[in-house]
């Protein structure tokens, strides 16, 4: 029996096509995925992300625990409300999950982890927490709505009481705060400005309706996937998993390797760096007509690789992909699409952000 979010009825009322996603019945689109995609790049769209898991880490040992658990360094979280993107690794340096951690107080951090990895994440975090003075508290009663696009923040602020709106308007990128019932974070997964809002499940449908009336378009997981791909953001389980390290996943920038801090998987990463990282996650833009998809064979001057994500980019109007390729793959490659070898440019993502195509992509 698949799970439903508190917004299930709102999706059906809006004509959503529902699909199973990690055991949840979620909207894939409400008609046209491409229109939803453009809406987010050009105006404002909203996504039900209530299937994602909110986990609060409470206790005096919260910071030392996260410093050990996460590959990025929570020492970077200096002011309350600040958010940090990080991978959680196993001892071999493989990615258990990627997540965002919010620093709320010295004894209170909040993590948002993926829905599809819920069970293994909770088991992993809980087992690692045993030796630390922390409490791991899941918050299944919180729904989550991501409102994204150049007009997204204004739409949300228009619905808040005046004093809260004034304070929430001051949130800097990658910062969050509690405003009445709403936990508002200026984060997202689209490459656009906007908010991700956690709120009590019982309040979610009413808030969704108010956003609808404020002109925010409901958008499904389909548009969410093409938006994050254009924005150069990895999808767990597709672009990385426990069989690869962040160094092989375009996530070297998220690793806090420079000091003495000990964290799970650190030694494996240092060893890999010393040996040389043999595979890199990079971007592809198809020069010919066609569509790139996950799992296609890539041929480069340095050997073969494989696409991990791929789709038609509504902003570029071309096919784009992430591919894990041998180091020194050069500037072009060929992708095997149904037996035909088609020419691609090898590029560094993002492909598109903030409403527009990034430089050098077309």
């Amino acid at each position: 029996m698949s799970k439903r979010t508190p917004l299930y009825n709102a999706h059906i009322a809006a004509g959503a096509r529902m699909v199973d996603f990690g055991g949840w019945e979620m909207p894939i689109n409400y008609g046209s995925q491409i229109e939803e995609h453009h809406k987010v790049r050009q105006a404002a769209g909203m996504f039900d992300v209530s299937h994602m898991t909110v986990v609060d880490i409470r206790g005096a040992g919260a910071r030392p625990f996260l410093s050990y658990l996460l590959a990025n360094d929570v020492a970077r979280l200096k002011t309350p409300g600040k958010a940090l993107y990080s991978c959680m690794l196993n001892e071999q340096g493989g990615v258990v999950d990627d997540l965002i951690t919010y620093y709320l107080d010295e004894d209170f951090f909040r993590m948002v982890v993926n829905a599809a990895t819920h069970d293994k994440d909770l088991a992993w975090i809980t087992s690692k927490a045993r030796d630390h003075d922390v409490e791991v508290v899941e918050r299944p009663e919180l729904a989550m709505i991501a409102v994204q696009g150049p007009e997204a923040r204004a739409a949300v602020l228009s619905l808040l009481p005046e004093d809260e709106a004034r304070a929430a308007a001051e949130l800097k990128p990658f910062n969050a705060g509690q405003f009445g019932d709403l936990f508002i974070a200026r984060t997202g997964y689209t490459g656009e400005d906007g908010f991700e809002i956690s709120l009590p499940d019982v309040a979610a449908a009413a808030f969704w309706d108010r956003l609808l009336r404020a002109g925010v378009a409901p958008c499904g997981l389909g548009a969410r996937d093409t938006l994050r791909l254009e924005a150069g953001m990895n999808l767990y389980g597709q672009d990385m998993d426990e069989s690869v390290t962040p160094l092989e996943s375009g996530l070297g920038w998220t690793l806090g390797l420079k000091d003495e801090r000990v964290f799970i998987g650190k030694q494996a990463l240092l060893d890999q760096k010393a040996r040389g990282v043999e595979r890199q996650l990079t971007g592809l833009v198809l020069k010919d007509r066609g569509v790139l998809r996950p799992g296609q064979r890539v041929i480069t001057q340095a050997g073969e690789g494989v696409t991990t994500s791929g789709s038609f980019s509504p902003t570029l109007q071309k096919a784009i992909a992430f591919a894990r390729l041998p180091a020194n793959a050069g500037e072009t490659c060929q992708v095997d699409i149904r037996g035909k070898l088609l020419e691609c440019a090898i590029v560094k993502p993002p492909f598109a952000r903030n409403g527009t195509v990034c430089e050098g992509m077309i």
């Binding site: 894939i28 046209s32 995925q33 389909g222």
Partner: protein
């Protein structure tokens, strides 16, 4: 509820066939198929002159979601392809039975037409 014109014939794999005045067969995908696929972004059509056999995968339509094979509803020789789809594959979403047609065949074996479904039988197959 998807649109199923009564003057066309259909396959279980969601192609439609229209026998034209010149007795060629024009082929496309149904409204149900375009809706299930979502926004179409790429179409790979056979070449004019290709000889294809009933049931062969002879074209590919790709939506944002996935690639799908188109199976030849009839055997024949390709005499025309819809070149407008190259620049505007979304024509299939907007008008699957009209401007979104895929290709035309010169029919080799008219008996194959008898094996196709009429609108009513196609609609029933959707309900199953």
């Amino acid at each position: 509820m998807s649109h199923i014109p009564s003057h066309l014939q259909y396959t279980e794999s969601h192609e439609w066939v229209s026998v034209e005045d010149n007795s060629n067969a024009r082929i496309g995908i149904t409204d149900h198929a375009q809706e299930a696929l979502g926004d179409l972004v790429f179409v790979e059509l056979p070449a004019v002159g290709d000889e294809i056999s009933q049931g062969d995968p002879c074209a590919v339509v790709e939506s944002v979601k996935a690639a799908s094979d188109i199976y030849a509803p009839l055997s024949g020789v390709v005499v025309a392809v819809n070149e407008d789809l190259e620049s505007d594959p979304a024509l299939i979403n907007a008008d699957p039975y009209g401007d979104g047609w895929l290709f035309e065949l010169e029919i080799i074996d008219a008996d194959e037409l008898d094996g196709l479904k009429d609108a009513e039988a196609y609609e029933e197959s959707l309900d199953e």
